[in-house]
Point group: C2
Amino acid sequence: MTQRDGGRRLSLIALEGIPLIGPGDDLVEILLAAVGRSQLELASRDVLVMAQKIVSKAEGRYRDLASVQPSSRALELAPQVDKDPRLVELVLAESSEVVRHRAGVLIVAHRLGFVLANAGVDHSNVGGGEERVLLLPEDPDASARRLCQRIRDLTGVDVGVLIIDSLGRAWRNGTVGTALGCCGVPALLDLRGQPDLFGRPLQVTEVGFADELAAAASLLMGQANEGTPVVLVRGLDWPASASTGTLAPLLRPKQLDLFR
Amino acid sequence: MTQRDGGRRLSLIALEGIPLIGPGDDLVEILLAAVGRSQLELASRDVLVMAQKIVSKAEGRYRDLASVQPSSRALELAPQVDKDPRLVELVLAESSEVVRHRAGVLIVAHRLGFVLANAGVDHSNVGGGEERVLLLPEDPDASARRLCQRIRDLTGVDVGVLIIDSLGRAWRNGTVGTALGCCGVPALLDLRGQPDLFGRPLQVTEVGFADELAAAASLLMGQANEGTPVVLVRGLDWPASASTGTLAPLLRPKQLDLFR
């Protein structure tokens, strides 16, 4: 975006030395310490992009498969997708519908509106053995709001917070960083009414700003290492009129979606 | 990616003062001049991310709707998608199949494997009146290779080149920067065999690196202004074993795609 001065350079900085996160940890104190170690000072319009996993862990969103009783629907679906029926039960409980499935693949609409594999229920980097999995945060927008508020309380600075995960997509291989919840940073930018270079109204009028930002930060986070779950992004610009309180504008309602 | 030193900070710099591009322009001379004005010097592992539009313009990929004779198929489809039959003809000629269509929407598989609206045929920022449109480059990987080679010839430096467009996607609103062709930068990173923090094999094993990079650069390019069609990205890291010659690994073959 950002044809203004100051929007010409974007810096992404992976915060170093963030420890393994567990239930009840104060993420904000931990990341402010990391900001300090990086000899940085938070400023207005900075955005802190955080991996979903550390937010879920701090919120204690673990489940133990040993304590899950699969429903008849999970028992029926599990052999079709070649997954543990107890995991399928957790996925279905987090979802509003199954969008596609086949051997090894279970793509659902999460109750919050995301379309993704396994409802985001994850084994990797969870620890605690094969039976322990991690759900997405209960409400990632609310998580982001709490984090923004606590950063403001501790520092007096209004930063944006974006919670992201690495998700697959239609048509293309490979995961990309994708936004799950936000506060203080726009989800979608509406460019309607802006002319192109030749005065013709733009054909494309909405930009998935938070998803572009999620993908950008993901370049520094990697997959295999939880040591870099927070990336500070500096130099972003967006119109003052942009709505910044929720990810909802990014999520296409089912009735408008040609691909489910 | 990039747990190594030097991968901890990513800088994206929009190159200033790139003029409107026309057929036959030497993009590399133009962008090297812009690099010089920015008081930068290209270095190995830098990646230059370029908007598709300037590559298509330099390659003269204009079409004049006035000279297009719509086929019977285009004449039949045009009213269903509420588009000019001559535009529909151009879209079909660039495509291997229509994936979805409804009033105002025509999503196709481009002959090169991209799934996108209108086969990337674009009116915005084209100039030359309502009848003039712009196609994607004939072969974006080949365009990227030529650009890489010419940069090497003129500077002696091996940089990566990524050609991108802003595309819509399934399930979510808003366009995101998406890769169309590359040279000297990986399309897909394969993390198979890497353990997670707790020694468990990673569940997600492939990262859409070029698409994450495209999205990142798109944050600085914007939509309305062609004045920032090139973004220099510095600080990327990837395994030496990664394949960097073509975008093809990012494109999911139809028979493996659950969403067309």
